[in-house]
């Protein structure tokens, strides 16, 4: 009976657990589909969007230095938005959560957002995004990350399948569903 003294502590832990994990329940439905099936659906969605010409291709650029004019990725060669020094500064700012944008080849600027209608949101830069592989990557047999986040992709070209929103002042909104890119997620590292 003396061990019943532990009961309040355990109940407290269980209650805390329930409170803290409440927000996750909304996503539970998605994960009822097995992983392989989910990935296949994402790939099919990406390939269908590609056929329809709806894939956004662009460089990932860092917002603070772009908007205060410290860097000008828009005036650089597409695919090489930064010099070596600029890249380092942009990457450090990005990992400090300055906002990242996608600068497409035609000069349109996209702001990554959560899907339309989502009321409480979080930093899009902290989220893992599903990755679709090219045929070459699939046949190479190389073990590559099956997901990516935006910060390590700073300055790199990326293909995005997602929903585009009108946005504001010519900056469009983009909810990223999946991405495709050359090389590994972290270049030269595991």
């Amino acid at each position: 009976m003396k061990y019943l003294k532990l009961l309040p502590a355990m109940m407290l832990l269980a209650m805390l657990s329930a409170c803290l994990t409440e927000g996750e329940v909304e996503e539970a439905e998605v994960y009822k589909t097995p992983y392989a099936e989910r990935m296949k659906m994402i790939e099919q969605e990406f390939l269908a969007a590609e056929k329809e010409g709806k894939i956004i291709t662009g460089d990932i650029v860092e917002g603070n230095s772009l908007f205060n004019g410290t860097t000008e990725p828009q005036n650089k060669t597409y695919g090489e938005p930064y010099t070596k020094e600029e890249f380092r500064a942009a990457a450090i700012s990005a990992e400090r959560n300055s906002k990242l944008f996608i600068l497409s080849k035609d000069g349109t600027l996209y702001y990554p957002t959560c899907p339309k209608g989502q009321s409480v949101s979080e930093s899009e830069q902290a989220l893992r995004i599903h990755r679709v592989f090219t045929e070459k990557q699939k046949t190479s047999g190389e073990k590559l990350f099956t997901w990516a986040t935006l910060v390590p992709m700073t300055g790199r070209e990326i293909e995005i399948c997602g929903d585009i929103y009108p946005g504001y002042a010519e900056v469009k909104g983009l909810h990223i569903r999946s991405v495709r890119f050359e090389g590994d997620y972290i270049i030269g590292q595991d």
């Binding site: 532990l6 355990m10 832990l13 269980a14 805390l16 657990s17 803290l20 994990t21 996750e24 329940v25 996503e27 539970a28 994960y31 097995p34 992983y35 990457a91 450090i92 990005a94 990992e95 959560n97 979080e122 930093s123 830069q125 902290a126 893992r128 073990k143 099956t146 986040t149 935006l150 910060v151 390590p152 700073t154 997620y185 972290i186 030269g188 590292q189 595991d190």
Partner: protein, 290 residues
């Protein structure tokens, strides 16, 4: 004349089984986290709370265990449970506050953990003055820094369970702090002199610790001493992965390699449990190791 170290087949057996068990435990712990994230990340915080509760109860349960082998065995598992919970709590904190991955790929939870370095130093400061602590590294520091006013603590330890759990947590914490400080491009970076030094020092210290470890021939002492030994080796595994020279099988889910590791874990668990059950009769006094 150097003192000759007696190495028996028995001590080699205990050492190798303990090393395999601790290494495999760490690898399996990693792949569990990766699998949860891949297949059903929704359950991760429930899992974390379960680990915290089970870890706490496991450590509590060690008070009824009479032998240091069992106490150490369950202490490690209890410590791992609490460690899991801490990692997930940082993951949750990172999620809530929008902490991103670094551009060289470090995860948000470890970025947060890096800044617990002062908390670690505060705990460690207490430990180096805490006279009942039997850690060899702390003994070394006490000797060299002349911190002890009297003789070092000796005598029987009644329960190694909480000690072992705490040892597991502190050593794992120290390992992560070192790695995260080494990887930080704004402090050192993965290709800095510090990271190379950490790699080579860890490699050397691993062999030194194995040399010390083969002096023990009981699962209690061997398991406890295997924690720092494996953690030091783990630094090298992590750094090699960071340098792109190794694809960690628990990150990229390489089932061929993981099957061997899981097999090693099952066999070593069987051998440890069998040995501890065989020696059920009476309390066996062990040397003070940690």
């Amino acid at each position: 004349m150097a003192k000759q170290k007696i190495v028996s087949i028995k001590s080699l057996f205990y050492t190798s089984v303990s090393l395999v068990w601790i290494f495999a435990l760490a690898a399996i712990a990693h792949i569990i986290m990766v699998l949860i994230e891949k297949h059903n990340p929704v359950i991760k915080y429930e899992y974390a709370w379960s680990c915290a509760i089970i870890g706490f109860l496991t450590i509590y349960m060690t008070r009824w265990l009479k032998r240091d082998g069992w106490q150490s065995f369950w202490g490690i598992l209890g410590g791992l449970g609490l460690w899991f919970a801490w990692e997930y709590s940082l993951m949750y904190g990172g999620h809530r506050t929008g902490v991103t991955y670094t551009f060289n790929g470090s995860y948000p939870e470890y970025r947060l953990m890096k800044w617990s370095v002062m908390a670690f130093i505060m705990v460690f400061t207490y430990l180096i003055y805490q006279e009942s602590v039997r850690c060899n590294f702390i003994y070394f520091l006490r000797r060299k820094l002349r911190l002890m006013r009297g003789v070092v603590a000796t005598g029987k330890i009644d329960n190694y369970g909480p000690r072992t759990a705490f040892e597991y947590i502190m050593i794992t914490w120290a390992g992560y702090l070192l790695l995260m400080i080494a990887y930080d491009d704004q402090i050192f970076g993965p290709y800095s002199w510090f990271c190379y030094a950490l790699f080579f020092v860890s490699f050397s210290v691993f062999f030194y610790l194995v040399y010390k470890l083969i002096g023990y021939d009981k699962f209690g002492a061997n398991l406890r001493y295997s924690i720092p030994t494996v953690t030091i080796l783990w630094n090298d595994v992590e750094i090699l992965a960071k340098w792109g020279m190794l694809k960690e099988p628990w990150v990229h889910i390489n089932w061929k390699i993981m099957s061997v590791i899981i097999g090693g874990f099952v066999i070593s668990t069987y051998l440890i449990v069998k040995d501890l059950r065989r020696k059920k009769e009476g309390m066996i006094e062990s040397k003070d190791v940690v």
